[in-house]
Structure formats: C-alpha cells, structure tokens
Symmetry: C2
Subunit: 233 residues, 2 copies
Amino acid sequence: MSSPLRSARDRARTEIRSAILDKAREHLAVEGAAGLSLRAVARDLGLVSSAVYRYFANRDALLTALIVDAYNGLGDATDTAIAGATAAGRPARERWVAGAEAVRAWALAHLQEYALLYGSPVPGYAAPDDTVVPGTRVSLALVQVVRDAHDAGGITVGTAVGPGPVTTPDLERLAGLLGTTLPTPVLFAALLAWTQLFGLLTFELFGQTRGIVEDHAAFFHDAASTMAAHIGL
Amino acid sequence: MSSPLRSARDRARTEIRSAILDKAREHLAVEGAAGLSLRAVARDLGLVSSAVYRYFANRDALLTALIVDAYNGLGDATDTAIAGATAAGRPARERWVAGAEAVRAWALAHLQEYALLYGSPVPGYAAPDDTVVPGTRVSLALVQVVRDAHDAGGITVGTAVGPGPVTTPDLERLAGLLGTTLPTPVLFAALLAWTQLFGLLTFELFGQTRGIVEDHAAFFHDAASTMAAHIGL
DNA sequence: TGTACATCAGTGAACGCGCGTTCACTGATGTAC
DNA sequence: TGTACATCAGTGAACGCGCGTTCACTGATGTAC
C-alpha cells in the first residue's frame, strides 16, 4: 500500500491467480466446462486442492473468471481486426467481414472457450452480472461498423422483407438502448447478421456442417460478405 | 417367434426400455447431458443400476438412443408442419416459415434435447453413425420446400452477393449429393438460411438475446420470412 | 398336458474412481512501533 | 535497525457425496420334447 512496488506476496498472488486460470483454460480445452475440476487444476499446479480457495471462492467463481477473460479476448480480437481495417481505409463491408473473420479466428483457436460463451449453458451455473458488459463487446464492435457506415451515408436500405409491426417497436427500443438513430430495417438486418454469424460458427465448430461444407474459411467469407450486403453495407 | 402375439417377456422388454428412455429424458431436461446418470435413472425407476445394462450397453448407448429419438421427434414435427402447409395450398414462402416455426416450437418444448443435438458437443462422446440419417431429416425437409418451389418455377434468384469461386464447387458437390439441380446461388442462400435458423434459435434458447429481443415469436417469424425471401421463395 | 432345461431380467455387493468444500494447523511474509 | 505481532498462502486430513461398470447369483418366463 505504502510502497510504490508491489510486495512479494502481492506479486505472487497475481501470478498464481493467472497460473490457476491458465491451467483451468488448458483443462477446459480438453474436458469442456462440465469436466473442469478444481482438484485437477490444483493437482497439475502442484497445489493442494484447498489452496485454490485462497484465490477463487468456489468453482463457479473460477468459471466466471474464465468467461470474463474469454469475452474480453474475443472482444480484443474483434476490436483489433476492425481497427486495422479502418486504419487501412477499407470500406464498411470489408470492415464488417474483417470483424466477422476475427470472431471466427478466435473461436477456432479457443474452441472450448467459445463453447463456454455460446454453447449450451452449463447446468447449475448462472452467469453473474460481471459477465454482461464484456459479453456485449463483440456485438457492439460489429454494430459500430454499421453505425459508422450509416453516419457516413453509406447504407442503402433495400431489404426484401423487413421487420413486421410487432418487431418494429422492439427494434426502436433497442435503438434507444444503443443510443443510435439507425433505421429499424438496418438494425433488423444487423441483428439477423449477428445471429447468423454465430449460427454459422456454432455449426462449423460443433460439426453440424461436416460433410456439407468443405472449405469452411471460404464459405464463411462468402457468408459474411452476404450478411454485410443484406445489412446494406 | 412362433407366436403371433409377442411374449410377456418381449412386451415387458420394450416397455421398460421406453420407461428408461422417458425417465432419462426427464433427467436430461433438468440436469443436461453432462449430468445424465445411469444410476439416477435406475433409482427413479425402482431398478438397481446394473439392471439398466440389460437394455443399454453403457451410458453412451443411452445417450445415442436419446439423440436418435430427439432427431426423429424434430423431424416428425417439421414434416408434419410442412405437409400441413402444403395441404392447405400455402405458397412456398409460407411453407418454409411453417417448417421453421415447427423447429422453433419443438426446440422450445425440448430445450435440453435441442442442446443435446445442437449445443456444445458432450465431451468424451462421439456420436455413432446411427445418428447421421435422422440428423439430416430437418435439413432435408426444409430444402425440399426450396426444391419444390424451384421445380414449380417459383424461385427468383436475385441475391446481392452469391457464393464466390471457391465456394461454388463445394455447392455443386452438395447439389450432386442431394441429387438436385438447384442453382448454386439458391443452394447457397438455403444453406445460409439453415445456419441462421439454428443460430437464431440457439441464441434465443441459450439466452444470448435476453434483453435485446422481447417478443421472440414475432422476431422469429419476421426473421424466417426474411430468410425465405433471401432464398428467393 | 406335464416335465426338464434354457433363457434372461433383475439383484446386491463390490471395485475403483473423482469430486467440491471445510477446517484447524504451520510457517513465511509484511507491518507497526 | 530490531523486535513483536498480524496477516495470510498453503497443508493435510476429513466429510459426504455420486458415478460407471462388473460379476456371480436367483427366480421367473419361455421352449422343446
């Protein structure tokens, strides 16, 4: 507290906390969330299982930390990709595709973490509020591309079918929540693209498109471009 | 074998087998696939755990039976809905939407079974070949609507962005597999709609759209119509 | 129709396993005087 | 700078739990003569 440098105890604390998280991520990658065990993680670190309780209140707290980190990793990857495309002066559609492909790249590299975020809910685990904000990062990054394009006048609304009379108020509420003036048909298309993006990834990662799609990267690229086109980018 | 009526033993066998499956489905609905336990199922049926092994070789065999039944339940529901819409003389787009909404209705009524089929893979479980054919039923039912419409000349291809040069051969291979002459842009759009349909459902069921979409039924309806429009129905 | 044997559903005990969490403890690190 | 006390990371044993699977067995059902 009084020292400008953190104490040895303090340093050790953060280091070991990360070591636990890293090892837990390793286990997650092999066993999945349901098979993640405090005891196994402790064992692998040469710790006694009860020692982990100095760092995480219980198994759920460890899971929550993993979820928050995963959301942030995904958020960072997407932000970086979009920022890069923006810096390179790429048009909105390509920025959107770059963001989408960053999501895919992260998901492929972190399969079980992706499953933790977007797969079946872990039975008996209720995500606490801490996970909400990091969880919105990807969606916000992607919708920001659409907002920028719209602000620059670069969106042509021409979707065949838009939202119906029941869905429209829902979208207006959402627009208010986002503090944006995006027209509802555009927001509708963006929402659809969002669900499609993750639907596609989930199918690819969980093996539903096995035997149907061969070149997943190419298919994803074409799909992402199509989504962007539907949004009007 | 010689008797026209099945023996008491035989009847008991099929009945108890179904009782085990029913109880397993109940447990699945509460605990999820990872928490499904042979012992708990046996206990609830007043059986000793080892007795279950007279009916299923092991836990994985039980899971497989649940998966096959679930795929068939979903397939039946979809077939019935589409057949009903066809019998009522509804146009192709409405037939597609009817099929999609049947998938949603089934999924809502069988959340954990849906998760078993389309959620995170169960760690350590590899679905055997028996599950492949039932697994394709929904997709085939939906694509059949598109084929019928195409055969009747009812498809207007006008998608903004189609498949690229890498994806096109993939789609031609798939068309061959299906034994259809659907143009690749239509097949591409159908594939996208398929992934979007399940992406949307997964988001709704797993709570990703909580706080974003209020009236899920209406949103789904609008989304399904939009997908159909993108296919050209 | 009656008897002898074969089949097989269900039993109960056991094997060997891993899990999350609690708790009194020890000894090293940090802090206040 | 040195000492006394407070903090707290890590220990090791224990509690109580549930799991999948195997195996020798019993007794009822089915079958062949």
